[in-house]
């Protein structure tokens, strides 16, 4: 009897341990978060998009977003951005990838930003040529959507894997400002089909949180 009890109990414990490991190691494995820097006139978010994640990443061939500091260095692979509620968020995105074009050309226009505009390499714009879009930063629930222009296909000093050095590799810089609303968890995504090799180029990094998708945590 005692032997049976011990066996049954240990089998039960083993199963519970396996389940707990499954839940904690796999299911709750979500990318980390990065808090936007506070400045005098709102939060500042510095991002970078790369043609391929770091070589030590589980998916070193996938396109991805990264968080950087103001100088475009100090790369972190986090795609949950923490920003304050009811305030302005200034976003700077250094974009190192070449262009792939949009499925829906409508998304070539910026929406939901302050003034409906963004700056591309210092130039204020409302829309870009949809064929030149490399990525999009969009938060559909806030109506925010900004296209990011790609670097020329024949750029000589194109960046390979993250991290990319902003002083030596080709990139475009897009800045824009949007206003956050109530507290909550919002999602952001890219609308450019940039998951190359997957059907409609919309698999892989496009469908995996932590690459071309993530959350905006408004606190």
């Amino acid at each position: 009897m005692a032997r049976r009890t011990v066996l049954t109990l240990s089998a039960t414990l083993l199963v519970i341990a396996a389940i707990a490991a499954y839940v904690f190691l796999y299911l709750t494995n979500v990318p980390g978060s990065a808090t936007a820097a506070q400045t005098a006139n709102g939060a500042q978010l510095n991002l970078a998009t790369v043609p391929a994640a770091a070589t030590n990443d589980p998916h070193p061939t996938w396109v991805s977003y990264y968080v950087t500091n103001g100088q475009g260095t100090g790369w972190q692979h986090d795609t949950t951005f923490v920003v304050p509620a009811h305030s302005l968020v200034h976003v700077t995105i250094r974009q190192y990838d070449s262009s792939s074009g949009l499925r829906n050309p409508f998304i070539s226009q910026a929406t939901g930003t302050v003034g409906g505009t963004f700056t591309l390499d210092g130039k204020t714009m409302q829309a870009i040529n949809p064929d030149l879009a490399s990525h999009v930063f969009a938060i559909p629930q806030l109506g925010v959507s900004v296209p990011l222009a790609g670097i020329p296909d024949n750029a000589k000093n194109a960046c390979g894997n993250a991290p990319c050095d902003p002083s030596t590799t080709a990139h475009t810089t897009t800045t824009f400002t949007f206003r956050t609303g109530a507290k909550g968890l919002y999602r952001w995504q890219c609308f450019v089909p940039c998951g190359a090799g997957y059907v409609l180029d919309f698999g892989g990094p496009m469908q995996t949180v932590g690459y071309m998708d993530g959350f905006l945590k408004v606190v």
Binding site: M1, R4, T5, T8, I19, Y22, V23, Y26, L27, T28, N29, V30, H59, P60, T61, W62, G184, L185, R187, G195, A196, G197, Y198, V199, L200, F202, G203, G204, M206, Q207, T208, V209, D213, F215
Partner: protein
Amino acid sequence: MTAVATPSPTATPRQRNGLIGFNLLTGIVLGVAGWWIAYLLGGLIHGASIKAFSETGQNDIQILLGYAGGVLGFLAGLGFANYPIRRVLGHPPEIPTHEIDEPGLAKYFRISTDHKIISKQYFVGIAIFFFVGGLNAMLIRTELLSPTTHVFGANQYLTIVGMHGAMMLGMMTSGMIGPFANYLVPLMIGSRRMAFPRIEALTFWLLMAAGVVLVSTIFFGGFQTGWTGYEPLSDQGTAGYDAYLGFFTLVSISMSLLGLNLAATIVTMRAPGMTWSRLPIFVWSVLATSMLMVLAAPMLTATLLMGAMDRTADTGFFLPGVGGSAFLWENLFWVFGHPEVYVLAIPGFGIVLELLPVFARKPLWGYRLAVAGMMGVALFSFFVWQHHLFVSGINADLRPFYMLSTEIISLPTGFTFLCVLGTLWRGRIRMTVPMLFCLGWAFNFLFGGISGVFNSDVPSDVTTHGSFFVMAHFHYTIMGGLVFSLFAAIYYWGPKMTGYQFNERLGKIQFWAMFISFNSTFGPLFAVGFLGMPRRVVTYPSGLTGLNVWVSISAFVLGLSLLFFLWILVKAVVFDRIPAEDNPWHSKSIEWQLPTPIPAYDFNTIPTFSGDPYPYGEPVPAAMGGEMPATAGAM
């Protein structure tokens, strides 16, 4: 029936094998080896020819080949290759003989050709995956405790949803048939074995391999498509979707072989006197189910092969724009998918109608009607599939036809209800645990059926399609129908199969816990669906929080009630070990006339059947079924 069993011939136990030999361990070792060999081979193919995927770092050929190699290695390690190789060399066909009733558990970890051992393997194997699927359901409800994403990532949530659906729909297809048809059909028709015992074993081990393949999806990023795998979304999926393809391919092969085996057994191996009109109703339900499996499952195999070719060989079956169509998948999938849900439901009809006469102490009321009902459901189920596609924009002109055909299928289903009511009428109903589950089935399936009418009516379906209403509907029919009748079967035949008594009082507690929490879980989901919550979402409007929290808590209680059953089973089989009586239910069905546990040979002599299959009731009219069964007097 005049089958009286004497103890089976005693024989010297076979020399017990050690760990080396053809058994599960060898299977796992060769399976892993097979995976790696095929995986590396796939890498060579990939490097040599197919350029398109090299950018993504994903090679579906490699992974699918790996699964194929792994499964072949696993089966070879279990010893499934031995006989085919002997046959290639020209050795004559052999019918596997019954194994010697050897003690110990080792026989459960090898190929067995004894239908009783296979059915126990099925029972435990499927229970494991049932609890994996159930765990996923609990995780889904945990996530839905809050209207936003809070516990799991968005990818992981959809993977959990897909795994829950695929596990339940794929594995539980054999959840009733596997343990109970394999156990009972040979006994009930007096044949001692299935027509193809090796194939019977193969279907089980294929299913186990399938379950492992599906779980392996978490190592490849999961799949975000749900169990329906709609294209072209599934084609976009990462390597995790290959696990879905592998899983359902193995399941569909297992299903068609299981159906083939059962149907052939029932058609050709009935003992003398077992005419069609004396076939126990459960055997009829297995026959109807088998026919669906034999015909519908190959359709799924073909569809999955098309999907696999889209991912590996650059074809475009399901890719609109390069010659394919998303509708093609929807059509082919549901041509299989709708019979599939009846594959889940019909054995439940059979179980309930089989058990009611025992506990109402009356013959089955309307035997022919019940048979017609099950056969009718099986037949009609091939003509209703487009009701899943009412608003899809496909052949919209056919909607009135599919509305009609879908509603017509409720007629044969209704026959079953009439037979349930008629059998209970003026009976002497004994409220045992299996009986409670049968009545629970009747209650749940009634609401499942009625809510189905809303889904079949196009104007109503516009609201309910793709919402939690549909989800509640099919959980009422599958969880409330299949699983409740499954529990009826477990409590009824469990003592015969395991040889140990189950605690009646704990069983009743489990029934009430499960029945109440089930209705408290899925009843409110009808409302959730009506209020506009789509299926498979990780977020929902915050106004629905109250209902969702209620449902989640009920679901946890439901989960606990199932764990409680596990305790009852473990208590009965591991701790209490009170030997079961030969015939605790005073049943007149043949399997209860045999000793408990049933000897390896089943019967020493082939039984001869005569008279009505349900000889309950007094007085038995002489016109009904000839002589009284010899065994009836023994009680």
